[in-house]
């Protein structure tokens, strides 16, 4: 399925990812092009984060194929990926300044020894500017608000100058101004050819910034445009009686199981 003439940056065919012997997600076949955003949608535990971790190489590919920037995953491709984990995965009381956190995004370019050069500091400063955090650079990370921490981790991902950005539930816990700012940042990145993968529960936001959707529930339910994928039949297959907002209408799917 092709939506763009831009080069493909991510191609999966029959891909499966596992935690040890437990397959958490399988049957994923999709293509993402430069400048496109893909929304990953599904209930909790359905494999959305698994998908991101599989693309990043944190989890092994146990079946199918996966190509990033037209090649197999390598240390070089890893350097061109930016990752925003769920904000509850980091220790908020860790004794580092926001600037130090953002510079972590440059660590793989610096290697083990090289001190940050002007280009590294400029990339960190630019990432702080884009996320609106320049004035807080020297502040301890743990003293920032939840939304500022989230933006700080996004700045760390951006400091690596990624060609593909992977965002795990980036809108969780953000107030309206922070949400709007994040949507704007994602649009700007897309316009510069950056591909963006976003896990989210918010279908309205997905519609605002995403070109394609991957609907999952342990396996791929559907992949395509929002209109093609978010049908009642597909949503029933993915969710079991969860409220879902589609086009500003709330749909309650049958078969409620208490989640």
């Amino acid at each position: 399925m092709t939506f763009s003439t831009a080069p493909a940056v991510l191609q999966l065919s029959g891909a499966a990812f596992a935690y040890g012997a437990d397959v958490a997600l399988d049957g994923v076949t999709l293509t993402v092009h430069a400048g496109e955003a893909l929304a990953l949608i599904g209930p909790n535990g359905s494999g959305k984060s698994t998908f991101l971790k599989g693309v990043l190489g944190i989890l092994p590919l146990t079946a199918g194929t996966l190509q990033i920037f037209g090649t197999d995953r390598t240390a070089d491709t890893a350097r061109s990926l930016g990752y925003l984990p769920q904000s509850d995965e980091v220790d908020p009381e860790f004794p580092v300044s926001l600037e130090q956190v953002v510079l972590m995004g440059r660590y793989r370019r610096l290697g083990w020894w090289r001190l940050p050069a002007r280009a590294d500091r400029a990339a960190a400063a630019e990432a702080l500017r884009v996320t609106g955090l320049t004035a807080l650079a020297k502040t301890r990370f743990g003293l920032l608000s939840g939304g500022q921490q989230q933006r700080g981790l996004l700045a760390r991902a951006l400091a690596a100058n990624p060609r593909m950005l992977l965002l795990d539930e980036p809108f969780n816990g953000l107030d309206q101004p922070n949400r709007d700012a994040l949507v704007e940042t994602i649009r700007e990145l897309k316009s510069h050819g950056v591909a963006v993968l976003i896990t989210t529960h918010d279908l309205v936001l997905a519609r605002d910034v995403c070109d394609t959707v991957l609907l999952v529930n342990g396996t791929q339910i559907a992949f395509g445009t929002l209109a093609d994928v978010l049908t009642l039949e597909n949503l029933q297959a993915a969710f079991s009686g969860v409220q879902v907002e589609v086009d500003e209408h709330t749909v309650v799917l049958p078969g409620h199981d208490g989640h």
């Binding site: 959305k48 350097r79 769920q86 009381e93 003293l143």
Partner: protein
């Protein structure tokens, strides 16, 4: 000689000079590594490692004597670090794994020592060190082992820091957590080996853990943590050693050096803890690490 005199003049004595030298070298290595133990919450794993290294120290001692124990100790240290790293990576509860390895290896060590002629005397020396009778050879071996441990941390510093802060993102950036964990565990085990003559196998845990904990209480800036941790360890070592010597001479009772040093470490920790409690809120550099702050946050994805 008064206790105050012993803070300076006592170190002119060759055995006191050697004891101080060993402690200062250990302080730098353990101070830096202790910060990472604190940041990662690896105190119990460190406890497991100290005990797991014990049979190697004991076997080395039985075969090679005091100066020869290091070969056995180094082999055991690296083996213990590898085993604990791999076991901690599996699905078995990490604490249960450590507890099982800890008790099994420690028992094995006691059995090894029981084969030596002066069982209780040797066991005491291996468990609590023999700080005031450290030989020149032991000073050299301790220094080399401690410097290697420190170098392992310096070389992997960025990866260790990134991993401690955000494991998933560090892994995503291309760092291999199992390699970094193994490096840190080997470094901890090397400090245990290095400390075996000075403070022994049981008390080394204080040298590894207290300075990092003190630094975490006292400072919120990363660069300061390492300076405070190593500086505190050096200061407490000096005061502890002088106190043991001064009390032994003035009160004419043999006070064990290693245990006194460790007590001063712990006293220092209590002083910093008290200072934190009473100082004005506005001057606080950062919150305590709360071990339940992470636990209270619910995991969003069971697989994460």
């Amino acid at each position: 000689m008064t206790v105050l005199d012993s803070l300076t003049s006592a170190f002119a004595l060759p055995f006191m000079g050697r004891a101080l030298m060993v402690l200062l070298v250990l302080s730098v290595a353990a101070g830096v590594i202790g910060v990472f133990i604190n940041l990662r919450g690896l105190e119990f794993l460190s406890d497991g490692l100290t005990h797991a290294v014990f049979p190697g120290i004991a076997a080395g001692f039985v075969v090679g004597g005091r100066d020869g124990l290091y070969v056995g100790a180094l082999i055991a240290a690296i083996a213990a670090a590898i085993v604990l790293t791999l076991l901690a990576n599996r699905k078995v509860s990490s604490d249960a794994t450590i507890a099982i390895v800890l008790t099994a290896m420690f028992s094995l060590g006691v059995i090894f020592v029981s084969r030596s002629s002066d069982f209780s005397g040797q066991l005491e020396s291996l468990l609590f060190g023999h700080l005031l009778t450290v030989t020149a050879t032991e000073v050299v071996i301790t220094s080399v082992v401690a410097v290697v441990a420190l170098l392992l941390m310096v070389v992997t510093f960025r990866g260790q820091l990134f991993l401690a802060f955000d494991r998933s993102a560090a892994h995503a950036a291309g760092y291999r957590p199992v390699v970094l964990n193994l490096t840190l565990n080997v470094a901890i085990a090397l400090v245990v080996v290095a400390a075996s003559s000075a403070v022994g196998n049981l008390l080394v845990l204080a040298v590894l853990i207290v300075p990092g904990a003190v630094a975490r209480l006292a400072a919120g800036r990363l660069s300061l943590l390492f300076v405070i941790s190593a500086g505190f360890a050096m200061l407490a070592s000096w005061i502890g050693l002088a106190a043991a010597f001064g009390l032994s001479v003035s009160a004419d009772v043999a006070i064990p050096g290693g245990a006194t040093v460790v007590l001063v470490f712990v006293l220092g920790y209590l002083v910093v803890l008290g200072w934190r409690a009473v100082r004005p809120i506005s001057s606080r550099s950062g919150p305590l690490r709360s071990s339940d702050s992470r636990a209270s946050r619910e995991p969003v994805d069971n697989h994460a």
